[in-house]
């Protein structure tokens, strides 16, 4: 940062501010800041990707949790301070690059500067050859043209003629393309953020889904996206196949997930079947359907005190660990009194003192559920919406705990009814997303890489060839030739280029 004080007048001050903002040092500092402010986003759980973990974090640290939340540490990349840094960086970038655009445009259309008076001071090579001055210049000029140098021929006051040549304009072109591509990427991200949408849905085997807002478990759309613009389609999850590693190494690691889906679209005759896998999403118009998870849904049958069936359904339980120890909640509002269950579903059951009931393998080798039963008021009539995965037991009394295997029934105490584990189903979770900005972002990213490579690998060089008459006159005419060159970037030179020219001139005259 320059140490000079800002000027007093308002206009002068603004100009000073602009110059500071667009200076390379400011860009450097902003780049560092961007790196530093990104770090908490990798350490703290983020609302956008893991809202459950965020709530847990805040609950675990009641003092710091809310403070960190209020300063945006759980939503770093959407926080005002993060935005401030990258917006300043992009302003600095634009302010730095736009003026260079004009400079480069003029440079591209202008001729190389005339050769310096004294070439020998630049190193290079000086030698004498036989030939006419014009012929040597022509030689050099033809060689340079053939190798794509931009050239200009001129003459000094003392009569010596020269060729001045420059190459490597693509370096700055690449540099500018790279920086403008970064702006384009940001535009692509913004378009995706404004017009894109993304929803999650859990679908049990045999169950269907139709692409309307109400069918989603969670949906988020950009400010300018609308629920009416969702592409119309329905699908049914026919079957879901999953395999796990059974060898000693990495036992339990997933080896295969695949969802067999039947898709229907309006205006299309008949259904189509698709196999959706983890790296193989289903593409429907602007939307993509991704397979993102799976789990178990125990099929439970609940009877009330009179033996009437009040619930007969597969209830989605959410996996809590790699072995699919899953938790879930069953609410039975239609019995008298109302019944509620909290449950653990274990695909391969085990009990230890340390962990309690838990699963030791993700495949359903030895299935059981552990249930806790409550009777009383579920609180569903209070008007406050409840999650299907939590049970509010404030106005309920606990009836007891029991474990069930498939086909077993638990008679609840006091004749409150019974619950039976009839079996289990699988479910798959899908993310359905549309991002209209991603193509632009991709094209911009490719442009950025091309521009970057040009700006880093192409060197800007100037070379000069100067031909003067030799003072003493011999039988055949001889000329004195000077060849020299420079590279613009430090650490580079034009020795190879100069050598090539020298070789050509000597070779052709010999």
């Amino acid at each position: 940062m320059s140490t000079s004080l800002p000027p007093m007048s308002q206009r002068g001050f603004l100009r000073w501010l602009w110059r500071q903002l667009t200076s390379m040092k400011t860009a450097l500092i902003l780049l560092f800041l961007l790196a530093i402010v990104s770090i908490p986003g990798s350490y703290f759980p983020q609302r956008g990707t893991n809202p459950i973990l965020v709530d847990q974090w805040i609950a675990d640290y009641p003092t710091f949790g809310p403070i960190f939340d209020s300063i945006g540490l759980f939503d770093v990349f959407g926080s005002p301070w993060y935005s401030a840094v990258y917006i300043l960086l992009f302003i600095s970038l634009i302010g730095c690059v736009v003026p260079r655009l004009g400079v480069h445009w003029r440079a591209m259309r202008s001729q190389p500067p005339p050769a310096p008076k004294n070439l020998s001071r630049l190193g290079g090579d000086t030698f004498e050859i036989e030939g006419e001055s014009d012929a040597v210049i022509e030689n050099a000029h033809a060689f340079l043209k053939k190798n794509h140098w931009r050239t200009v021929i001129g003459e000094d006051a003392d009569g010596s003629r020269w060729v001045s040549a420059e190459k490597g304009y693509l370096r700055e072109t690449g540099n500018l393309v790279f920086h403008f591509s970064l702006i384009l990427i940001l535009v692509g991200i913004a378009i995706g953020g404004l017009f894109g949408w993304r929803g999650n849905v859990i679908v049990r085997e045999g169950e269907g889904f139709s692409n309307t807002l109400t069918q989603y478990d969670a949906w988020g759309g950009g400010r300018l996206s609308s629920a009416e613009s969702l592409p119309e389609f329905t699908f049914t999850l026919e079957s879901f196949n999953v395999e796990f590693e059974r060898g000693n190494s990495q036992a339990g690691a997933p080896r295969l997930f695949e969802a067999n889906m039947v898709v229907d679209r309006p205006g299309e005759q008949g259904s189509t079947t698709h196999l959706v896998e983890v790296n193989e999403p289903l593409v429907i118009d602007s939307a993509k359907v991704f397979l993102v998870g799976h789990g178990y849904a125990p099929h439970l049958i609940v009877r009330d005190s009179k033996g009437q069936v009040v619930l007969d359904d597969a209830v989605v339980f959410l996996p809590q660990d790699g072995n699919f120890t899953s938790t879930g909640v069953v609410k039975v509002p239609d019995s008298e009194p109302q019944l509620g269950f909290r449950g653990l579903f274990l695909p391969t059951s085990a009990i230890s003192e340390e962990l309690g009931p838990h699963s030791i393998f993700p495949a359903p080798d030895d299935v059981s559920v552990f249930l806790g039963a409550w009777a009383g008021d579920l609180g569903l009539d209070s008007g406050v919406s409840q999650s299907v995965y939590t049970l509010n037991v404030d106005n309920m009394t606990q009836l007891g705990l029991e474990s069930l295997r498939v086909g077993q029934t638990w008679q609840l105490p006091d004749g409150s009814g019974s619950i039976e584990l009839a079996g289990f189903e699988r479910w798959a979770s899908f993310q359905i997303a549309s991002d209209p900005g991603k193509e632009l972002a991709l094209i911009a990213a490719i442009l950025a890489i091309v521009g970057l490579s040009l700006s880093l690998f192409i060197q800007r060089r100037r070379v000069w060839v100067k031909v003067g008459q030799v003072t003493e006159q011999g039988p055949s005419s001889r000329v004195k030739v000077e060849v020299a060159g420079i590279a613009k970037a430090s650490g580079h030179d034009a020795i190879e280029q100069v050598d090539n020219i020298v070789e050509t001139l000597k070779g052709r005259s010999a």
Binding site: M24, K25, A27, L28, L31, F32, L34, A35, S38, I39, G41, S42, Y43, Q46, G48, T49, V76, F77, I189, R198, E245, G247, N248, S249, Q250, A253, P254, R255, L256, F257, E277, V278, N279, P281, K288, F290, V292, Q431, A433, D435, K438, A441, L442, A445, I446, A448, I449, L452, S453, L456, F457, S490, G491
Partner: protein, 312 residues
């Protein structure tokens, strides 16, 4: 039959990795001997003696060659070190290839495989570069981080070969990881030259190339690796779009890849900013490499990330 075959392949792969570690250790010793001997060497004499070689003819050449050997006590040890490094790279390549044959897929399914491949990446970048210019002085500072990477791989990160988790079953695995390995290897070599540029000319390190020369080399290698790293990040984003439904989601691995990218972008800017070209730029290059290390080891070990799978 298949089982016997597979056990043999597994053992062979591991043996090649161990063999390459032993050879690399010997290379490190050779480079150390060269380094210690070189302390007594005055750099200018070397340049001078070379010129004699070029300009003289006949028997004089012979004489000056003898002179050269006497003037360069560490040269022979450094040459042995280079040969051993080539041999270690070949051994490691065999180890990585056999691992792939054994697993029946690209050998980048877990952190162990990724680490032995990264160690190979460092050696390949160094050795290929060494065919363009004399890098014998750098050998010691490349073999040590490579050995540490391999040591980490065989002790902490070792995983029996197994199939890929479904998320990794994509040809983008090959493209994305290959670019990350080469980019990371070059960042590591760049960190070595950057670190040396900070101490060149001081104390033990008078024999190293000049500070300016080392800074120039650092710039060259980072200019090479930065576009590759950019490509690795973009390829990862394309893959993520296909597998997870978004091309960028600030997963910790993505965040740290971005941080690494930003720091090296700062390095390149620093190189063309007055007052930042020299020591400060070198420090930035080292910080960038540290961010790369966090991205590579730290995220998998300490942070819950979508990239945590298969053992670590």
């Amino acid at each position: 039959m298949d089982f016997v075959n597979s056990v043999e392949l597994a053992d062979a792969s591991n043996n090649f990795v161990y063999a390459s570690m032993v050879i690399l250790f010997l290379a490190t010793i050779s480079f150390s001997v060269s380094f210690a001997a070189g302390r007594r060497r005055v750099p200018q004499i070397e340049v001078f003696s070379r010129r004699v070689l070029v300009e003289s003819s006949g028997s004089q050449v012979h004489e000056s060659e003898v002179e050269l050997t006497q003037l360069d006590p560490g040269r022979r040890a450094a040459n042995i070190g280079m040969s051993l490094t080539w041999l270690a790279a070949v051994m490691l390549l065999m180890g990585v290839l056999l691992r792939g044959v054994w697993a029946g897929r690209v050998p980048w399914g877990n952190m162990y495989e990724f680490s032995i491949s990264s160690a190979l990446g460092i050696l390949v970048v160094f050795l290929v570069w060494s065919t363009q210019r004399d890098l014998r002085w750098l050998g010691l500072f490349v073999t040590i981080p490579t050995l540490l990477t391999l040591g980490m791989a065989v002790t902490v990160l070792y995983t029996e070969s197994a199939q890929l988790v479904p998320a990794l079953k994509s040809y983008w695995l090959v493209i994305h990881v290959f670019a990350a390995i080469i980019g990371g290897g070059a960042f590591t070599v760049g960190a070595a030259t950057a670190g040396l540029s900070l101490i060149s000319g001081k104390g033990w390190f008078t024999q190293l190339p000049s500070r300016e020369k080392l800074e120039g080399l650092t710039h060259k290698i980072i200019a090479f690796s930065f576009p590759i790293w950019t490509f690795a990040v973009v390829a990862g984003a394309i893959w993520a779009e296909n597998a997870w439904g978004r091309y960028w989601g600030w997963d910790p691995k993505e965040t740290w890849a971005f941080i690494t990218w930003v720091i090296f972008a700062a390095y390149l800017h620093a190189r063309s900013t007055a007052g930042w070209k020299h020591q400060k730029a070198s420090v930035i290059a080292i910080v960038g490499w540290l961010a790369f290390l966090v991205n590579y080891f730290g995220v998998n070990i300490f942070i819950n990330s979508l990239h945590s799978y298969a053992g670590v």
